[in-house]
């Protein structure tokens, strides 16, 4: 009986055909721990799956590896889906892994943690890199979907709080494959064309898959690179995305994002009123001071050169009285308050009050005169006193020599 003689390649081919005919080996899910994980320059991943007793060689081709959401690491417990077949050249069987997920927790969760760790180590979340938002956002760029509640909420709140702003909406998709590139692109575009003073980006809440675009590395890097401050406003508490960590300011929701971007006009109005009140008070004090000085001076310099002094002051006070009255009327018209005390304090400065203290004004030719040289003997003059006037003829002029 003659033994059949086989070539090596025939044996391997025979075994391979047996393996390949087995429906179980054609598609199975294997649980194990990763070891000897290597990524070759070709992009293929080679590793071993093992448990307490055994190990199984595995390969994941570049096309499959590109779909991984997380970075596999030695020691990690994973589930691998694939087929087991023989590599005829080596006569070794291995698992051709088509997809891999972390065992126990979701792969997105692992990817999130890994990216967070990586970007944290790179300094993308550093507080020192974060810029303050402008106090008055003249131009706001909203980067989100033009449909959906997020943009609606943002615009509603911006309009209510700070309607002076000019808003540009840059519509992007916020979920799906295209979303990260679109969001990152819009952020870069806004920077390139200096479209805004602040960027508000985000979307409404959802599952971790829905929010995934905001956990994308491209989006995170675009936010980090943005010269325009970025507010990340994704989902509802307690979702925290990678974008939230990188952004200059993190908002809990789209509405909250708009609140953080825009000053509240109610507060701005309070500030305006406070400024008005401060000016009123300062002006009141200032006028009181003037009055006190005038009173103090009345007894001194006035006696040396009463007409000069009095006339100057009279004109100034008339002028101020007029302007203050006008201002008071305007303010009262404008339903504002508290001007009356100001006018009252001015009243104390009124020329009539000064006349009451015994001074007088002299008129010649219908004009008040402030110098003895303005009248000549024979001129008719009028002397105005607090309760009336005297008409008189000048009989003599005596000029006084003084330094004032």
């Amino acid at each position: 009986m003659e033994r059949q003689i086989f070539e090596v390649s025939q044996v391997n081919a025979y075994i391979k055909s047996n393996f390949d005919a087995d429906p179980l080996l054609a598609g199975l899910c294997v649980r194990g721990e990763l070891s000897n994980y290597k990524i070759y320059p070709s992009g293929h991943h080679y590793f071993t799956l093992k448990d307490a007793e055994s190990s199984l060689r595995c390969v994941m081709f570049r096309s499959s590896a590109g779909r991984l959401h997380f970075r596999p690491e030695n020691g990690m417990k994973v589930l691998c889906l694939g087929r087991v077949t023989v590599f005829p050249r080596d006569g070794a069987y291995q698992l051709y892994c088509e997809s891999m997920t972390p065992d126990g927790v979701g792969d997105l969760h692992v990817a999130y943690e890994q990216l967070k760790e990586k970007l944290l180590a790179e300094g993308l979340f550093d507080a020192a890199h974060k810029r303050p938002l402008p106090t008055y956002p003249h131009r706001v760029a909203i980067i989100t979907s033009s449909a959906g509640a997020a943009v609606h909420d943002m615009l509603r709140i911006l309009g209510a709080r700070y309607p002076l702003a000019r808003v540009s909406v840059l519509p992007v998709r916020v979920q799906g494959e295209e979303a990260p590139a679109e969001i990152a692109g819009a952020i870069r575009y806004a920077n390139k064309w200096k479209l805004a003073d602040v960027i508000l980006t985000g979307r409404g809440g959802g599952s971790i898959e829905d929010l995934w675009a905001f956990n994308d590395e491209r989006v995170a890097r675009a936010i980090y690179a943005s010269d325009i401050p970025v507010v990340s406003a994704v989902g509802h508490e307690p979702d925290v995305t990678i974008s939230d960590f990188v952004a200059d300011v993190r908002a809990a929701t789209p509405s909250n994002g708009a609140e953080l971007v825009a000053p509240d006009q109610a507060k701005l109005r309070v500030r305006l009123s406070a400024a008005q009140a401060a000016m009123d008070e300062a002006m009141r004090r200032r006028l009181k001071l003037s009055r006190q000085r005038l009173d103090a001076l009345a007894g001194a310099r006035v006696l040396l050169s009463p007409k000069n002094y009095f006339e100057d002051r009279r004109l100034t006070l008339d002028y101020l009285q007029h302007r203050l009255d006008a201002a008071a009327r305007r303010r009262l018209d404008g339903k504002t308050r508290e001007f009356a005390p100001l006018v009252a304090s001015l009243d104390a400065l009124s020329p009539l009050k000064v006349l009451a203290r015994g001074y007088s004004v002299t008129y010649a030719g219908g004009k008040s005169i402030r110098s003895a040289r303005q009248a000549r003997p024979g001129d008719q003059i009028t002397v105005r006193l607090s309760d009336g006037a005297l008409r008189a003829d000048v009989t003599d002029v005596e000029e006084e020599k003084h330094g004032g």
Binding site: T135, Y136, P137, H138, R139, A141, S146, A147, V151, H152, L155, L158, G159, Y162, P163, L164, A165, R166, V167, S168, V169, L170, P171, Y189, W193, L195, Q265, L268, R269, R271, L272, S273, A275, Q276, A278, M279, A282, M283, R285, R286, L287, L289, S290, T316, L320, R323, L324, A327, R330, R331, G334
Partner: protein, 77 residues
């Protein structure tokens, strides 16, 4: 191009200066009055800006030459 927000910010800044100067005291009365009137006008004009403002919203997209082009923004659009 100074928009309403820019005007508002400039007014508030000037107003703060005026308040500071007036509160500092020692200004000639004339100057104090002039500042007071200027400040009061600014308070009024700034409040008016807020009263009359309506949020301006446009949609921005990359035009054929790469430059941003504005169109009317409509939700769900």
């Amino acid at each position: 191009m100074a928009g309403k927000s820019e005007t508002f910010e400039a007014s508030v800044k000037r107003l703060e200066e005026i308040v500071k100067k007036l509160e500092g005291g020692e200004l000639p009365l004339d100057e104090a009055m002039a500042l007071y009137e200027e400040g009061t006008k600014l308070v009024k004009s700034s409040a008016k800006l807020l009263d009359e403002a309506e949020l301006k919203v446009v949609k921005l997209a990359k035009g054929p030459d790469g430059a941003p082009t504005e169109t009317e923004f409509t939700e769900n659009g």
